[in-house]
């Protein structure tokens, strides 16, 4: 996964408990370092370096015809940051646990797919010594998929389809605890902060923002392996402060499905 100045790897393990209930553990981490834009990568993959347990409950599911179905899934995740996220305006913020909830619904068929989704990532303040707060984020996405007729091959031939994804996000302001060392909280850092409020919390102006990203992606499956990838480009990129603009986002993944033996 690539974003402005940051490369990440994101291993994920998923297990289908029942046909409509799946649990996933993902642990994306930084490969290099740079100021990290906050916000999720996808509905199922956090954008920050963290370990996340995600429960997906497909609460609505109707097979409507040959090769077509409608479904809706609710996601609930809990996470803990594993690496400090670098910041240009001072030391990294303290790590806190996060909660994530999302809803996605769509229609799939042999010709086309349509998906819509929205989610919210919240970071809690659980540490007693440092009361920093990572940016919360609101995410929504709209995906249209298409399988060209000449690629509409039958099983067990490889299956390739293309998507156009658009994602919009609003990332909130982060907060830093600058209460003096020795008091109830805070950590000492070099950068002169904006004036704190009475509790020693400073809202960081160079954090968060609003963005809309759009671009092509693909999904190819063959036997028990799926290859996915794509690039999204900014249609709107308005950071709240002076953070770096994102020129693109890109992701590539390989997934292996354990489907059991075949005769």
């Amino acid at each position: 996964m690539w974003r402005a100045g940051v490369t990440m790897l994101g291993p994920q393990f998923s297990y289908g408990i029942k046909e409509d209930l799946q649990i996933s553990i993902s642990a994306p981490f930084h490969v290099d370092h740079g100021e990290h834009p906050t916000g999720r990568f996808t509905a199922m993959m956090p954008g920050d370096p963290q370990v996340e347990g995600l429960l997906a409950w497909r609460f609505y599911h109707v097979s409507t015809g040959i090769g077509s179905r409608n479904e809706a899934t609710f996601y609930f995740g809990a996470s803990a940051l594993t690496q400090h996220v670098p910041r240009a305006d001072g030391l990294p913020l303290g790590r806190q646990p996060g909660l994530y909830g999302a809803l996605a619904a769509g229609h799939v068929s042999r010709r086309y797919d349509v998906w819509v989704g929205a989610g919210y990532q919240h970071y809690a303040r659980w540490t007693s010594s440092v009361d920093d707060h990572q940016s919360d984020s609101l995410l929504s996405s709209f995906v249209v998929g298409w399988r060209p007729p000449f690629l509409n091959k039958d099983y067990p031939k490889p299956d390739l389809r293309f998507f156009w994804e658009t994602t919009a996000e609003k990332v909130g302001l982060a907060q830093r605890d600058v209460a003096p060392p020795g008091s109830s909280g805070g950590h000492d850092h070099g950068a002169p902060p904006p004036p704190p409020d009475a509790s020693g919390i400073v809202v960081l102006p160079n954090s968060g923002g609003t963005g809309v990203f759009s671009g092509p992606t693909f999904l190819c499956t063959y036997r028990s392996v799926a290859f996915q990838g794509g690039m999204l480009f900014p249609l709107l990129d308005q950071p709240n402060g002076t953070q770096k603009h994102e020129r693109f986002r890109a992701a590539a993944s390989v997934t292996f499905y354990f489907l059991g033996r075949h005769k």
Binding site: E19, D20, I66, G67, P156
Partner: protein, 140 residues
């Protein structure tokens, strides 16, 4: 009665008992089942793997274009259509109409598939048909 005679009687009783508890075999031979919701290669592979693990299944072929599963079963299997439909449902798909070839016999107006406990109303039975009988019929 001699000791030998008692042993023979005991042996015969044991064989009779064993025969009495031997499970009856179902005689589904071929099933062509329409399944809704199979949209991708992985869906087909997952369903195919699940069905191939069911006892008595010799081969499975899946078509995404027609949504058809074609299942061939070995003779003397213990296969049940209700189990098949359950497995399809557990994979997240919807089983629809089927064309079934099975061995069984008529019981009144219903065709009972040998040993499966499953029966189907398939129209007017032939009173002179020999039993057991191999039939191909549609199931809704």
């Amino acid at each position: 009665m001699t000791l030998f005679g008692v042993s023979v009687l005991r042996g015969a009783a044991l064989v009779g008992l064993l025969l009495a508890v031997e499970p009856l075999h179902a005689e589904y031979l071929r099933i062509k089942l329409r399944v809704y919701g199979l949209d991708c290669q992985l869906c087909a592979r997952g369903v195919s793997a699940t069905i191939q693990r069911m006892p008595g299944v010799k081969s499975v072929e899946v078509s995404l274009k027609t949504g058809l599963l074609e299942i061939v079963l070995v003779r003397g299997n213990t296969f049940k259509m209700s189990d098949l439909r359950k497995r399809i449902r557990e994979n997240g798909f919807r089983s629809m109409e089927a064309t079934v070839t099975a061995v069984g016999e008529f019981s009144g107006a219903k065709f009972e598939v040998s040993g499966s406990g499953e029966s189907y109303s398939i129209g007017n039975p032939d009173p002179n048909a020999p039993a057991p009988l191999e039939l191909t019929f549609d199931v809704r």
